[in-house]
Amino acid sequence: MTRTLGYRLFQALLVALTVGVLTFIMVRALPGDMAYRIAAGRYGYDMVNTDAANAVRTELGLDRGGAAALGQWFWDLVRFDLGVSVVSGEPVIDEVRHQLGHTVELALAAVLMSLLIGPPLGILAGLRPGGAIDRGLLLVSSTLRALPHFVVGLLLIIVLATGMGILPAAGHGEPQNLILPALTLALGLAAVSSRVARDAMAGVVSSPYYAFGRTKGLSEAQVFLRHGLRNVSVPIVTYLGVQFIYLIEGVVVVETLFAWPGIGHALVHAIFARDVPVIQGTALVMGLMFVLLNALVDLACYLIDPRRQTA
């Protein structure tokens, strides 16, 4: 267990290193004069002139040498000093902390919804492989898997928000604002987790110990609760780890689509405005969140499956 957690720590270091190097290259490689672009982001495109750009240049020290800048960059990163947003002037760490709360809220709602939709349907399908539920689920999940998350979100907006007017299409603050973006992510997650649950359940149902449980006279519910559930949950939880990639990627796109004020939204807007400290901060936090979630999945699998504890 310490070994897996050690690996996750190593992965977290790699995230920081990759994000640091990439954002540093970004600053250096961006075409055009960075001072002008930042000035445009601050004062609006109509208000930019040479004086404003020069003021930005001296203020942010944009004319320093490359090696010194890289050293400074990593020193700041090591101290977790993410700097100040060049557009809003606020410390990045405060902005990110604020946005992270919204993103975590969205992600949690999505994972919970997907767990309510996916595995139960998958287990139902797996109990009777080849049955009507199984075939129907295969069709639905194949369809959902062929649609990128933003298309799912778009269709949900068109049908539920503009078509029927049940839910607001975008916005933030009211509880019902959470439903559509979370549902968009949840449907994508459930499309995969239902198939994983179905395959695992089909495997368990055809196993000798399950047959023996039935033979010795346990009811369907008893045999499922005692012998099925725990065995099925290990692959589902493990697969949740793989799905977090989908979740993190989905957050970027879905937040942008629904104007959800989270970290993915901030990242995309920072890329527009060439706000490198914010790009660095958001990418770093998202990468670290991914590693942390995977570490939690490792821990959960360790607790569910006692076989791993002895090994």
Binding site: I25, S142, V268, G287
Partner: protein, 276 residues
Amino acid sequence: MTTIAVNSSSSVLEQKRISVGRFIGFTILAFIVLFAFLTPLVWPVDPTKQSLRNVLAGPSWSEPLGYDHLGRSMLARLAAALRLSLGLAFLSVLTAAVPGVLLGILAAWKGGIVDRALSILGDVSLALPGLLLVLMLTAIAPDSPWALYVGISLVLWIEYFRLTRATTRTLITSPAVQASRLLGFGPAYIVRRHLWPEISPMILTVGAFGAATAIMAIAALGFVSVGVRPPTPELGLMMTELLPYYEEAPHALLQPIVVVFLLVLSLNLIAGRKAR
């Protein structure tokens, strides 16, 4: 006895279903490729040419798929967007597959420090979720498909590397390979004779899956407007552009959606059910 019979018949059915799925997948993909590459030959309309009189006009005989919000031919734009997505996806998969497979064999063959170094290289590329990496690369070089290409290839090669490494590792200790080595056959023979037949079927699956990932990533970045820039036709970008005109011209918005769906569906079908 009966359970065994049922099991074997269902597994035969399953195998048949996979091959049927693959066949359907290849058929859809072939149609899409033909559509993308034949349209400019049969229908030489510039995808950026505007005719403002026909803004958001529906399908007609002179313009089978109608016009978009700037009076540009949807047919020409769809075909051009597909050529971009298909070309970029194909190129990325190819660029990912060749070094991925070669490095995977190398890592399993040499073991020790080479294996460890290559695995760390894989971990570095995996540290960030794929789309995040591509997003940051497009921030470094905005407005160029090259950033998309490099980013997607960097994400895709790891899957080849891992699979090839795992397969080669078990194969290399098998009696058959050891016999070949004892008989004095060189690495080229062993790769061709023992490793390639095992690896090659997986390459199609991983490749189709990777191409689907690439197409989704390109469309997603276009959709949040950080991929290619207008007026270049791109499937995700077309959806963003046409979304405000959904009420007036639903057909225009639905076209890129249907095309992305069919494309990814066909690739998923080719990849088969085992690949997720």
